[in-house]
């Protein structure tokens, strides 16, 4: 991303050692100051992307417009974290962005694995910082089509496709069909949706079922119908060029040339 990261750590240095799996939020100085004075972040729209394709979609279509400030990051170390210089030196893969002109719009790209025992804490800690009145949450999530159950066998040409799941407080119409029984969602999208359901926050999850395991431009583009619903305040870029997309879709598994 082009925006520079400014962050300051709120936590004392030895806490990560005592509780290695604890979730830590590091906000930018102005957000830290706001939270320290007992206030919450004014937020009308929170957009969360979980997975490489979802994050690439937001990066290419929304964040590339340079109207966004880095607002903070979340650290959640677990056994699947790839750390270079140790836990605290790891490049964060949960980054928060705030719109410069409309600071009530918050985006978070999550490209790391958050373990099952960290999901609830991540959700509670993040939502504790946001005011929940009039808040609308949108979650974009990647999923393998192998997890999708249907009575008629899906041939590969139907993937990628979107399915939605929303909380009871969500009054709008989703852009795609609702997730059919007996399918369920798990992971961070489920944790966020559960929180919103219980706290009566309007939330919708758009799950994209894809037959490609890694970053893929076709999967990224399948999120396009969601753009209209992301809020009037978000200016959507004209379709990004192939170069822009390629920048965000660098393969994470260079060493895996089993399927070239």
């Amino acid at each position: 991303p082009r925006v520079e990261q400014q962050s300051s750590s709120q936590s004392l240095p030895f806490i990560p050692l005592l509780f290695p799996r604890a979730v830590h939020l590091h906000w930018s100085p102005d957000v830290t100051e706001l939270l320290r004075s007992g206030n919450k972040l004014q937020c009308s729209s929170f957009i969360l992307a979980v997975g490489h394709n979802a994050a690439s979609f937001l990066s290419a279509y929304v964040l590339a417009s340079a109207n966004w400030d880095a607002a903070g990051r979340a650290l959640a170390w677990n056994e699947r974290s790839r750390s270079g210089a140790g836990r605290s030196g790891e490049e964060s893969a949960c980054v928060f962005y705030r719109h410069k002109d409309e600071p009530s719009v918050l985006i978070c790209n999550v490209t790391c694995h958050i373990a099952e025992d960290q999901l609830f804490e991540w959700t509670e800690k993040v939502f504790d910082c946001l005011q929940s009145r009039e808040l609308a949450v949108t979650v974009l999530s990647d999923r393998s089509v192998a997890d999708y159950k249907t009575p008629d066998y899906l041939c590969s040409s139907s993937a990628p496709f979107l399915r939605s799941l929303h909380s009871s407080a969500f009054a709008d119409r989703p852009v795609c069909p609702s997730l059919e029984q007996p399918n369920i969602i798990t992971g961070l999208p489920a944790a966020v949706l559960n929180h919103c359901q219980v706290h009566r926050i309007a939330a919708v999850v758009y799950q994209c079922y894809s037959d490609v395991a890694g970053p893929d431009s076709v999967t990224v583009e399948s999120y396009k119908p969601v753009l209209n619903k992301l809020g009037r305040s978000i200016q959507v870029n004209s379709p990004p060029s192939t170069d822009v997309l390629r920048k965000f879709l660098r393969s994470a598994e260079i060493q895996s040339n089993l399927y070239i």
């Binding site: 099952e116 066998y153 799941l165 029984q181 992971g187 489920a190 559960n194 219980v198």
Partner: protein
């Protein structure tokens, strides 16, 4: 942290379920049995058991009966009630995080205490492959002393068997080692039972010995046994054979078959699904479809 109101259900019977460990794709007997209870009695959701001890999951309404109520979000642990039966049910849909099982038990116990249920029934199961020779019939129960005082007669009439205490070291004749309660694969069942005894809660456990696989028949068996005690429905499940064939020979053959079936059921009553009188069936929820995965690709043939 719970979002369910407490102190609100005096004189209610509370049924909760426990999952067998490890979590299986086909679901668990207690969970499936509770699905049948909620689905058949058309129970309405009254609250969420919002806790950090369960793995998060979400899905649309698993008990949807018509198009209008399909798009209703459901969470890993929810409470349903049927006020006319004074019944509350806690359905747990997700595995308990291994490091938080004790905390989850404590949350359950404190909720049961705060809610003031007249009795609590836990539906559970245990590995069939780890049974003793004396445990070859499938159903067992456990009951806390405070519930035994009120339910002893009913249990005697039902002729249920109490869960046996097992020797700590089978085959080793050790006078010091006392037989102890052992529920392999029962998850938090044993902990919940012992905690309830310690807290003097009126709680019973109903469990079935079973194996992993298609646990739907086990769920029906467990829910029928529960119904024998609590009389949630008018009767049991009927296994009906519908014959449309007109041939007299076929009808005669079927009558012979039915005769043998009755003889078999007489000698092996635990396999019985026979009903005594006309009754409502248990209603299978829509979430039970595709338990073994998607449809088969036609290119396979």
């Amino acid at each position: 942290k719970k979002n369910v109101s407490s102190g609100f259900w005096p004189n209610f019977t509370h049924i909760i379920l426990i999952r067998i460990w490890p979590a299986v794709a086909v679901g668990n007997v207690g969970q499936l049995a509770v699905d049948l209870v909620v689905s058949t009695l058309n129970m309405s959701r009254v609250g969420y058991f919002h806790t950090d001890c369960l793995i998060p999951m979400a899905g649309n309404n698993p008990y949807a009966s018509c198009k209008d109520d399909t798009e209703e979000l459901h969470t890993p642990a929810e409470v349903y009630t049927a006020a006319e039966l004074k019944l509350a049910v806690l359905q747990i849909r997700a595995p308990i995080l291994q490091t938080r099982s004790k905390r989850f038990r404590q949350q359950l116990v404190s909720w049961i205490k705060a809610s003031g249920f007249s009795r609590t029934v836990v539906l559970s199961s245990s590995h069939a492959y780890q049974r003793d020779d004396q445990q070859l019939t499938p159903l067992r129960y456990l009951i806390t002393p405070s519930l035994l005082t009120t339910s002893a007669d009913a249990l005697k009439e039902l002729s249920w068997r109490e869960m046996e205490r097992m020797p700590a070291f089978p085959g080793v004749k050790d006078a010091d080692a006392e037989p102890r309660l052992c529920i392999p694969g029962g998850g938090i069942t044993k902990g919940l039972y012992t905690d309830s005894c310690a807290e003097d809660l009126p709680l019973a456990v109903l469990l079935l010995f079973c194996s992993e696989g298609d646990n739907i028949p086990d769920a029906f068996a467990l829910v029928n046994h529960l119904n024998d005690w609590l009389h949630l429905l008018d009767g049991q499940v009927t296994l009906k054979y519908h014959f449309s064939c007109e041939s007299a020979e076929f009808k005669r053959d079927m009558q012979v078959f039915k005769l043998y079936l009755y003889i078999f059921i007489y000698f092996f009553p635990d396999f019985s699904y026979q009903s005594q009188e006309p009754n409502r069936k248990w209603k299978v929820p829509s979430s039970w479809s595709l338990l073994f995965g998607s449809g088969i690709p036609p290119a396979l043939f």
